[in-house]
Symmetry: C3
Subunit: 352 residues, 3 copies
């Protein structure tokens, strides 16, 4: 019974964290019919600041890393992010009743990375005396952005296909909706969706932040403004998402079990994928045992920071009670509890 | 002449404090016809953040207090808040020319508590070597919220009655305005107003913050975001209220003397009420002499923090030049100057 | 070749500073067709906070200065600001293709002061062991506000004249646009424009901040809120201005050489004006050699802080790629590099 108590305690602690507490608070307000609202311009400001910050932090971390040593693990991290999303699509969209948007947003969030879970992993490795590379923090944007972009692209492509199919009977001019004449192929549509995604406010802000972090020297304004405001703005975003989630909770009733099972099992499967990639990097380039553990921790984690604002802005049709609920409520506790497992695996297969 | 100079100095210092200085600045801008404006969505954000912060701070304080020892003084504090508002209603609304909304808002603000006046009281007790309970900070939300809710409820009930009366002659369907058919009694209307008040954005945000502070662990985001932004956002709110107050200052010309007398006398009367309740708690539960002094200080003080945003959002018809001017310009200086009086009373009646 | 490398390095460092990096980032986003936007209410909030902060900081600095010793140098500083703008008007508006609004905004920005260039000057004087008055920081608002007000007044007066001329043929009722009957003279129109400028949101906020800094005690809220938020809000403003600048960059193609020459030469000419005024103050009142150097540094510098938000709000027709580009991209590096020149001049003409 001990592990169940441990899991219950971790879930309770997780619920009391501001992220989930504000989400639940927003749901309670909506349930009670409160007239509280966060005005649209304020919401846009919050998303802009959050994504600029996430991008800038990632850009600064990559700029300060040793790019040569970073190359192979970074490719591996991006690969892990993409694989997790593709796997999530395979598993979740096959379940009857799971909407395409909700499924892809959930897979994207589980592919993206939680910085705090990663920090917990580093702390445990320090405690266990297992060394890891200094550039690990710079790996996280590769997995994070690869997973989010893949999920958004796939979701929007399938929405486009669906729209095309529903328009077809009325004259076959489906591709017109993308602003092109007839006769465009599959590749063209995909390129258009990619360009359109990159121009969306959320991804633009994320990439702008990344570029500024990489090429400029925004450290001072990052430390004095974006970093201190971050947690607070995130709490407001969670409030908005909670209010919205409540009004759409009924949609999930029939498929709740799918998300519960996914939230509990996915972190373990994803961690194995990450660990496998870390192991391959170990044999290829001498990537450390601790590095492989942290690759597993990143893959097992699901994003509580970069993911929700990006997905909320880029896939507004997706239901936050599905993806944020599954990820923050179940995925994150399981990911944290599974860290010792990856350390044990590394000790067995690589040696400390 | 010395006390008059002391009062004048305190008033001058008070006017130079950001709270009142921004209020006056807003009035000057409006008087000069400036086109400066604070956009409505920004105003809503400010109120949301301020009230979340006030609620969260109160919730955290109550959560950390010893609830058993807190019970009797907390009831006493709530009682003091309600009594002060009822007394204010009796006194202010009887004056010809004082509008119902302005009178109730002023009474509410004088019933609510100033955290900085309370801090001044604690500092003076420390200086005088008089002990008090550690949970005193957790008493303040009870008096504060009880007073504000009572004032808002009473003001809205009487507005409802007035609206009903003015509709009556045209067919007696007054209660229809509350969305109910004929035949609803007094209690129903009161319940509806209470529910409606709780659903209002201001009270929702205050109660959400309270709930988060009590049940979750928002300390980190509170300290890194809500607390540092607080004074600054309040200064912006004061600017808005000052601009608004100017355009309505003329309404007050005929009744200014009422507010001046109330602002000077009320803190002393309210302090006596608070001291009496503290004395009763002393005899009932051994509440300390210092505790009784601080109960008097809280009752004598009028809110400069939680009150203005709550009242501005919940009673938009009330004129801020009446309630903020009376409270911050007169009530607070008198409350601060009267602290030694309560210490002397406690020494005489309870013993240090 | 050394000085060219030094200039190139300074320009590169300057481009990587958040101010210019966010401006360029905004231009890139606009060039790529991003749908990112900063909502209008948020933009208004940013300008309000920035200008309140600039005004308040200046007011606090003046309040803390010794007003008697300040008088002559302050008059000199204001004179320098006005002379620079008049000179800029003479030079820039004579160039074919330079729009009136762009030319006046650029002249205003070069008349206004960069606090960071001033700080660099103080650091170099400290290094050279050359003494200067403690109140120098309080001189800067005099030059800054005099230059900005002069530029805005002149730009709006000429816009008014142009509008009048274009209306004339249709019946000679030009002055009606200012809300007056026929027969108003030149002085009346100027007074109306002055009053109208003072009532504009930007100048109102600046003057309100100045008044609060001078007369109230906003130090606590200034240090806890306005100061920490400043650089971050400025980065957002630069983003907005960059996006806007891109869409209007084509306007500048034909006159780019004018701005390049002005941006490189003006700081040296302006520094000489400032040094001359400092020298006069030295002979009149014993103003120190270091003070004369810093007067030259202030005059040579162009505003990166107070100027852009003020001009953007007060002269929305002016093209930010002209004035911010010229000032931050060229004027500021030249101003910083020319500091040793003023120190050498002071040593030669005054003696350390």
């Amino acid at each position: 019974m001990d592990p169940i108590i441990a899991i219950a305690t971790t879930i309770l602690t997780q619920i009391q964290q501001p992220t989930l507490a504000f989400l639940i608070g927003g749901m309670v307000l909506a349930a009670l019919g409160s007239r509280l609202e966060v005005p649209e311009p304020v919401y846009k400001l919050i998303v802009l600041l959050l994504l600029l910050k996430v991008g800038m932090g990632a850009g600064i971390a990559v700029r300060k890393a040793d790019l040569l040593a970073l190359a192979v693990p970074a490719l591996g991290a991006a690969l892990a992010g993409i694989l997790i999303v593709l796997l999530g699509r395979l598993v979740l969209l096959r379940q009857p009743g799971v909407s395409e948007m909700d499924g892809m947003a959930t897979a994207g969030l589980f592919g993206a990375v939680s910085a705090s879970t990663l920090a917990a992993g580093m702390a445990m490795l320090d405690g266990a005396g297992m060394a890891y590379e200094g550039f690990i923090g710079a790996l996280y944007p590769f997995m994070d952005i690869a997973a989010l972009l893949t999920a958004i692209l796939l979701a929007r492509m399938s929405a486009e296909r669906k729209a095309a199919r529903s328009v077809m009977p009325q004259g076959g001019v489906a591709t017109m909706t993308m602003g092109q004449g007839g006769g465009t192929g599959h590749g063209d549509i995909m390129r258009e969706i990619l360009v359109d995604t990159l121009k969306s406010p959320a991804i633009s802000a994320l990439l702008l932040g990344l570029g500024l972090g990489l090429l400029a020297r925004p450290e001072a304004v990052y430390a004095s403004f974006y970093e201190p405001l971050f947690r607070g703005l995130l709490s407001l975003l969670m409030l908005v998402m909670g209010m919205e989630a409540w009004s759409r909770l009924a949609d999930l009733r029939k498929v709740a079990h799918v998300y519960v099972i996914y939230g509990l099992a996915a972190p373990l499967v994803h961690g194995l994928i990450g660990f496998g990639i870390g192991l391959a990097a170990h044999h290829l380039t001498g990537f450390s045992a601790g590095g492989a553990v942290l690759m597993a921790v990143m893959a097992a984690s699901s994003s509580d920071i970069s993911g929700p604002p990006t997905l909320r802005a880029a896939l507004p049709e997706a239901n936050p009670s599905a993806y944020v609920g599954t990820s923050t409520g179940l995925g994150t506790p399981v990911a944290i509890l599974s860290i010792p497992l990856w350390i044990a695996l590394a000790e067995a297969l690589i040696g400390a």
